[in-house]
């Protein structure tokens, strides 16, 4: 039995799940204390859980590897998942290291070392998929390092800018 607190688009639910109490593909969970029948087509391969029936309602879903979002025909929803019986350490976001979120070519560097920047301020322009894309500051601060220059090809995840 796991007791899990799920916050979706800012709204929280307490869910109790016991995967060992399955009857074939069916399972009863409780949500905020109320029972709810769920059908899991392939619970042994959770990385491939492409869809699920909650009550009678089917959802085709994609769940982020880090459980930060869930996507369905209703769109993408932000998630915060906490296991009430385990200490879950979540990766810390928003540190000052700005990495290339896409592979491409740097077309312009918009900041210099030492410059003050606001969170969300464009730092670098990267051309990828025939589009020019703004890469923005993950937080406010002072630019402590610039690792790229215009014309340079960058791979996914390459460190571009550091904000101190």
């Amino acid at each position: 039995m796991s007791k899990i607190n799920v916050t979706i688009d800012g709204q929280s639910y307490e869910v109790e799940v016991d995967l060992n109490q399955r009857d074939g593909a069916e399972l009863t969970v409780t949500v905020n204390g109320e029972p709810l029948k769920v059908t899991i087509p392939d619970p042994d391969h959770p990385e491939n859980m492409e869809w699920i029936l909650i009550g009678h309602r089917p959802y085709e879903i994609t769940v982020d590897r880090n459980l930060r979002w869930i996507r369905s025909f209703t769109g993408m929803h932000t998630l915060d998942v906490r296991d009430r019986e385990a200490t879950v350490s979540r990766p810390i976001s928003g540190d000052g290291r700005v990495k290339a979120p896409i592979p491409g070519t740097v077309t312009r560097v918009l900041v210099e070392e030492g410059q003050q920047v606001e969170a969300g301020q464009p730092l670098v322009l990267v051309e990828a998929m025939k589009m020019e894309n703004e890469i923005r500051a993950t937080r406010a601060g002072s630019v402590s390092a610039v690792h790229v220059k215009a014309g340079q090809d960058v791979k996914l995840g390459v460190m571009m800018i550091e904000i101190g």
């Binding site: 796991s2 769940v63 979120p101 896409i102 020019e132």
Partner: protein, 493 residues
């Protein structure tokens, strides 16, 4: 008719052209760069040849060499790349290979957008006010003076442009410099030249284009108009035919103008005549695209005419063989461009390997794509990897069916703009059909989910969490979790 057609393009349009060639019994040659080895056009062609030079699809000599070696007697350029390159068209003619498109001179004339507008204006057509020439990055003062003459709001456009890159809207004088710089950077990055010109911005307005077919014997017919007002980042997102806000009189007037303009410029093949239509219904001619358009399927659906087939017939010198009155426009069609980009992360590109790709089907639904389950969406090319085109008897049925088809599209492994399309077709002004180009300038990503769906998805997330935990535990040796291991059948001491 030709025997063998080389398709000098990639992606969904290469797949699209190969299909019609095969429907006509023509052999095909596909080209690919290494990043595209897994794309569908490579497999669906009779022959597929790698492009090994850095220039790839813009390497005239390499492409003509392949065409000669494999005995192709026609080259279809698709859109982009070599579709509007007069020198390439001339080289095809010299090699004795038919180019599926208009003659080089026509393309050259149309490619000079300022010149083309001037010529149309002199012939009595209404065009937007625009700068008399293009300006380089060092001519900001001259550009500023010209901007004052034209008046704000205005649009900065790349002379080499097309497909929206290097286009920026400037609402007031203080925005001019930053927007010009942005446009120059984008134009230089995408097209290799930073030169820009200015055009009066008509706001609010509609983008309307008329699909034409013009044979080499003087017959020109239209297949109705398309609206392309719904854009993001100056890229069209959703197109429909007919344009819902035009009266029948306005519609017929635009058709007539389009045919007259095509005649003025000597167009041949499939082309689209583009207009900006202001709030009073006045159309301003902007340019002619003398090639197949990304959004051609909506015109195919309302006319039931295969535009690629007509391109090939025209290029082979055949007369159309039918008149305007033989063409029946029937029902309503829409197309959504499905892009590999992340709507929750400022639409940054999202290339990568597809895990799941299941397209919608059933009546009135057509999908054009180079993708399939487990293929790669390469970072090297533009983000459109699929197009969903939907037909209905009327606009309401078409919208309902588009909504259904968008919901049924199952794609995982990358992020796509499907959620954005779902918002667009649920927006009140889209539903009313009186939207304008201003539509694109507002946020559209508020959630559609009702309370019950949200609760259900929370449960799904909890189960995904629990199931992954169970697997992670199973992968950890049992003794680590419990102090037990297989060999120890008694309680640890």
């Amino acid at each position: 008719m030709f025997n063998k057609v080389l398709i000098a393009n990639r992606g969904e349009i290469a797949v699209r052209i190969i299909r019609t060639c095969r429907d006509m019994g023509l052999q095909t040659v596909a080209l690919y760069e290494q990043a595209d080895l897994g794309s569908l056009h490579v497999r669906l062609s009779d022959e597929s040849v790698p492009l090994t030079t850095e220039a790839g699809f813009t390497d005239h000599a390499a492409i003509l060499q392949i065409a000669r070696e494999l005995g192709a007697d026609a080259i279809h350029p698709g859109y982009g790349f070599l579709a509007e390159e007069p020198s390439f068209i001339r080289e095809c003619a010299e090699a004795g290979i038919a180019f599926v498109g208009p003659p080089a001179e026509v393309v050259a004339t149309l490619h000079d957008k300022i010149g083309a507008q001037e010529r149309a204006r002199e012939a009595g057509f209404t065009v937007p006010r625009h700068s008399g020439r293009a300006y380089g990055p060092e001519e900001l003062d001259e550009l500023r003076a010209e901007a004052e003459r034209i008046g704000y709001p205005l649009v900065v456009k790349s002379v080499s442009g097309g497909r929206g890159s290097g286009t920026r809207l400037v609402r007031s004088a203080d925005q001019l410099e930053p927007m010009v710089r942005q446009a120059e950077t984008a134009a230089a990055a995408v097209f290799g030249s930073p030169a820009v010109y200015l055009e009066q911005a008509i706001l609010p307005s509609h983008y309307v284009e008329v699909q034409l077919l013009a044979d080499s014997h003087g017959t020109i017919v239209h297949l109705g108009e398309r609206d392309g007002s719904i854009q993001r980042n100056n890229q069209k997102l959703l197109e429909e035919s007919p344009a819902p806000y035009l009266s029948q009189t306005q519609r017929e007037n635009i058709w007539r103008l389009a045919i007259e303009l095509a005649r003025l410029f000597g167009c041949q093949g499939a082309c689209s005549v583009e207009f900006v239509v202001d709030r009073d219904g006045q159309p301003y001619f902007t340019e002619i695209k003398a090639r197949i358009q990304v959004e051609h399927p909506v015109s195919e659906m309302v006319s039931q005419i295969d535009i690629v087939r007509e391109q090939l017939r025209i290029a082979a010198g055949e007369p159309l063989g039918y008149k305007q009155s033989d063409i029946q426009l029937r029902g309503w069609a829409m197309q959504c461009r499905i892009n590999a980009e992340d709507p929750w992360n400022r639409f940054l590109p999202s290339p990568g390997r597809l895990r799941l790709f299941r397209a919608p089907g059933g009546p009135g639904v057509r999908v054009d794509t180079y993708a399939y389950s487990s293929c790669d969406i390469p970072a090297r090319y533009d983000p459109v990897f699929a197009k969903l085109a939907v037909w209905g008897e009327n606009r309401f049925e078409c919208i309902m069916r588009t909504r259904r088809a968008l919901e049924d599209f199952a794609i995982s492994g990358i992020q796509t703009n499907l959620p954005l399309h779902q918002r667009v077709i649920s927006a009140a002004d889209f539903l009313r059909g009186d939207y304008t180009t201003e539509f694109s300038r507002r946020p559209l990503l508020d959630a559609l989910a009702v309370e019950e769906d949200r609760r259900n998805l929370a449960v799904a997330a909890a189960i995904a969490y629990a199931a992954r935990n169970a697997v992670a535990r199973a992968a950890t040796p049992e003794r680590v979790l419990t102090g037990w291991h297989r060999g120890a059948r008694k309680l640890p001491e």
